[in-house]
Symmetry: C2
DNA sequence: CTATACCCTGACATTAATGTGAGGGTCAAG
DNA sequence: CTTGACCCTCACATTAATGTCAGGGTATAG
């Protein structure tokens, strides 16, 4: 199928499909006229790519194990687990930092409310 | 004082101080030779700017209330609270999304461990 | 005078996936 | 042959604070 059809089927933009091609994630064959020709399996492959992107993985990370997970079960692709482990560590660090900022913000908002109450309405 | 001295005193790079100037956060007077001349109060102002940047606020948001908080108490600058409220909402949304990804990652990692265990070492 | 240590502006790079537009080729229906 | 709906590549824009470099001015110590 052509790129436009794959885009409609998957809900992924033509631009993104071309980007996946560029990044080596999903490389269609080319017709004589230069058009990308996708196999029927491409639809599932796009969904797989989207799944990993939604986990916050980069195209580079996905590319490092995509061929394997499309071939055999994810559990037996040895590149996957380390990527997950690293991503999990990053996520946890980010959550901690955001929780720090959140507490900080909440304290400052409470202080503002307290100070306004202490001072009271002026009229 | 000149920009280099302020940079050393605050630990903020010269590049960033020029950026704060450009963004209207901290505008020094100029000597006849064009050099930025910072008042002694600039040091505290830089620390204030850093404090808000560390809360994840943008220079634009900071600029919207910085003059006020440098003049009177933060609690009585009415622009501050809405900015905090909005930032808090953003942070909470980000934390939720990260927690979703985190759960997803943990489940997938557990699945991998389970499947490997089920299959067992092949030798 | 010169070396050195400052200062200035302007501009590009950084991240990563996606949007958007220009300029142009392909193809099928009319 | 023309129109319209596709497709192609190339390239710039997006976010936001900061790093870095080029090219050049200033000021002080020797």
């Amino acid at each position: 199928m052509k790129i436009g059809e794959l885009a409609v089927r998957t809900g992924v933009s033509i631009r993104s499909l071309r980007y996946y091609d560029e990044q080596g994630l999903l490389t269609p064959i080319r017709r004589e006229n230069g058009y990308r020709e996708y196999s029927p399996f491409a639809e599932e492959q796009v969904r797989t790519i989207q799944l990993y992107l939604n986990l916050g993985l980069t195209t580079e990370q996905i590319a490092s194990f995509l061929h394997c997970v499309l071939t055999i079960k994810e559990a037996f692709c040895k590149e996957v687990f380390p990527v997950y482990r690293q991503k999990l560590a990053e996520i946890e660090a980010q959550i901690l930092q955001l929780q720090n900022i959140k507490m900080n913000l909440e304290e400052r908002m409470q202080s503002i409310l307290d100070e306004r109450k202490t001072s009271g309405p002026e009229d």
